[in-house]
Symmetry: C2
Subunit: 412 residues, 2 copies
């Protein structure tokens, strides 16, 4: 474990740069019981920064596992009304949300995935009305990670538990631009400026489509909707006007694909941790935006459940560009967690698109969003496609070819 | 820490004998984050015993402390509606409730007690409508304890942390009648029978009043309402018909005093841990049921806040008899936790009385309950009065003296 000064620096970064808590604001924290002591630091820093109240909700993955193994499916599939009320009340009070995730790779490998999928799907459906608060940036939110021993052993299988945990903490802190002697808040201001410059260029180009190709077998054309927006780094909450970082770390710039305009084959370049099940060596074939075929060497069942979640879970909701030489990529680690692995690699996401990525999208109804080419689903699952030899070619408004990525990195 | 087999025995005892979970029933667990791994065992045993669903809510006392120190009083005093909805929904579903407490003595010593008191009072008032579910035994509920390091160091200040924790576990398991080679479920059946025999005798006597006297300075007459009921050990939930143990451990038999019929002085024989503040060397003077004077060498402020909670928090809601030679008493430990210390000693409680302790009480409105001599308050706080030389004399329906306790133990 890092010393308390460094941990406190991390907590302060999440409060100041991550959710950027406002005076008197309600902060809602979701965390894992294993990370209670780090969560306590975050609460302390939140109050120091002026939070009026902090609601902390602890999750326990071992208990979640028990529920899936032995609980009554009907009961578990019915989202309690108080849970919806909780979300409603927090949002009415213009809360900020901090999600401290702590990956537990493999923990759900042996559960009934079809049962787990149905429960997850039912609960997501019930929560859907509340997703816009974060996905449309009404309030500030931040997702960040806290290491745990199980996760550390998965990332560093060659190390003993204590050393593995220490190594994972080091890696996580590096992705967060935290060192013993720097001011990470300032480091993030610089990092954010660099991401914004890439977005500016891409937004000026307004590509009609992107053609992805590499030696893994990816040969995919992704059309982009009219008036699509590339974003990256900080965002501004519409209700509170506070600037925040939704994902920490973040190295990506991203937009939304045209939900009916994806054709060809894409091969995943990294495994995907799907609610605890590892999906490995998988590929999708798209026609007119929809997955019409897929294959996975491992975890095929879990992947199939994801694809069948709802009528739009077979379509894309995000296309993100991350250079192969990004800091996280350079570590050459598989984190078994999307928050990190997506920032090591170009990726796509199945499911919901962010309405913020189409001009005027946040004011649109679901029907309007679909009509403008955005996607609407109860899931949003990133999968990695970036490789060192990935080339992406853009086609601009006149159909002219523009190299966007060459050999895994920005060429534009 | 005890080995896993013993911990599992404890978890099973709480599920089978404590809440006695029914097939398909919802179990609601409240626990401290520090005790997550024991909580996980309880969830596992609950599902094994047929629970349909388990809701687990984790509390973190360090976060609670931060809230009291730095949170906005108005926000904290407003109980969120979802929290009430949560209670309502659990009770509609005829849940069983398991509270795993884990004392943190002294943790709140340095907070603003007046602020803490007002917040506590406001939240208790909001929750009042939901207390009957447990206090009137509609559903099964069980309060039991799980050791933590801070608590262990307080109980065993002469030991190092690891040894102290081990010693506290040993002590707690002894109070629960758990040993490596016994069946604690069976041990509790025998224990329960013994408590029921004492209740039967006291219920037959139907004393008009009890006169408490000892060398500490206690000289108190406590009248009992007409048709009062002495209870002890297991109870039966009215909605589910399941037999359960509300407190584990339990060594007491108890009834409700007449709220207008308490006169004289009572001197506490042990310190009282009041929401983290230790109240020491305190006494109350009663006239016509009400505390008209009090004194505490330490923690006087916290005690005053308690007395001023509402209009009935200065009156008694419980009188309980525990022999000075009960197993917990014989350990001669101060646990700094009411659940244990009350079972080492005769005690009284300020505040709410259990409607179950007057015939027909559970069907009465609050007004009827008050008219029959019961007490209605948003607090219920036990304080210890038993000593080795405590004498209690009962006065029966004809005014005849009957020795109930002599030299700290049952004489009846």
């Amino acid at each position: 474990m890092p010393n308390e000064a460094v941990l406190r620096k991390y907590a302060r970064l999440l409060i100041q740069t991550g959710v950027n808590i406002r005076k008197g604001q309600l902060l809602v924290i979701q965390a894992d019981v294993q990370n209670a002591s780090f969560t306590e630091l975050c609460v302390e820093e939140a109050y120091k920064a002026g939070a009026g109240e902090v609601w902390t909700f602890f999750n326990d993955e071992y208990i979640h596992r028990q529920s899936i193994l032995h609980g009554d499916e009907k009961a578990l599939s019915t989202m309690p009304k108080w849970r919806l009320k909780q979300e409603e009340e927090a949002q009415e009070r213009k809360c900020a949300e901090l999600h401290l995730i702590s990956s537990m790779p493999g923990l759900l490998d042996d559960v009934d995935h079809s049962k787990a999928g149905r429960i997850q799907q039912a609960r997501s459906r019930a929560m859907k009305p509340y997703y816009a608060y974060t996905s449309a940036c009404l309030g500030q939110w931040c997702v960040a990670a806290v290491p745990n021993a199980l996760w550390a052993r998965k990332v560093f299988p060659q190390l003993a538990e204590k050393e593995a945990l220490s190594a994972l903490w080091d890696a996580v802190l590096r992705t967060m631009y935290i060192s013993e002697d720097n001011d990470p808040v300032q480091a993030w201001e610089e990092h954010d400026r660099a991401l914004k410059e890439h977005c500016d260029v891409l937004n000026q180009m307004q590509f009609q489509s992107l053609h992805y190709a590499n030696s893994l077998g990816t040969d995919l054309v992704v059309q982009l909707p009219m008036h699509h927006i590339w974003s990256g780094g900080s965002e501004t909450a519409r209700l509170t006007k506070a600037v925040f970082q939704a994902n920490m770390p973040t190295e990506e710039v991203f937009t939304t694909p045209l939900r009916t305009g994806v054709n060809g084959t894409v091969v995943a370049s990294r495994p995907l941790d799907l609610n605890g099940t590892l999906v490995e060596d998988f590929r999708f074939t798209f026609r007119d935006g929809e997955v019409i075929d897929f294959h996975a060497e491992k975890g095929s069942e879990a992947l199939e459940h994801l694809l069948n979640t709802d009528e739009n879970s077979r379509r894309l909701g995000e296309a993100a560009l991350v250079p192969y030489d990004s800091p996280i990529s350079r570590m050459n680690l598989l984190f078994y967690d999307t928050l990190f692995d997506e920032n090591a690699s170009c990726h796509l996401a199945l499911g919901d698109s962010y309405p913020t990525q189409i001009e005027g999208g946040v004011e649109m109804s679901e029907e309007e969003l679909l009509a403008h080419g955005g996607n609407v689903s109860s899931v949003h699952v990133d999968f990695m496609i970036g490789t060192q030899d990935l080339n992406i070619t853009g086609y601009d408004q006149e159909g002219k070819e523009v190299p966007v990525f060459r050999n895994g990195s920005f060429a534009v």
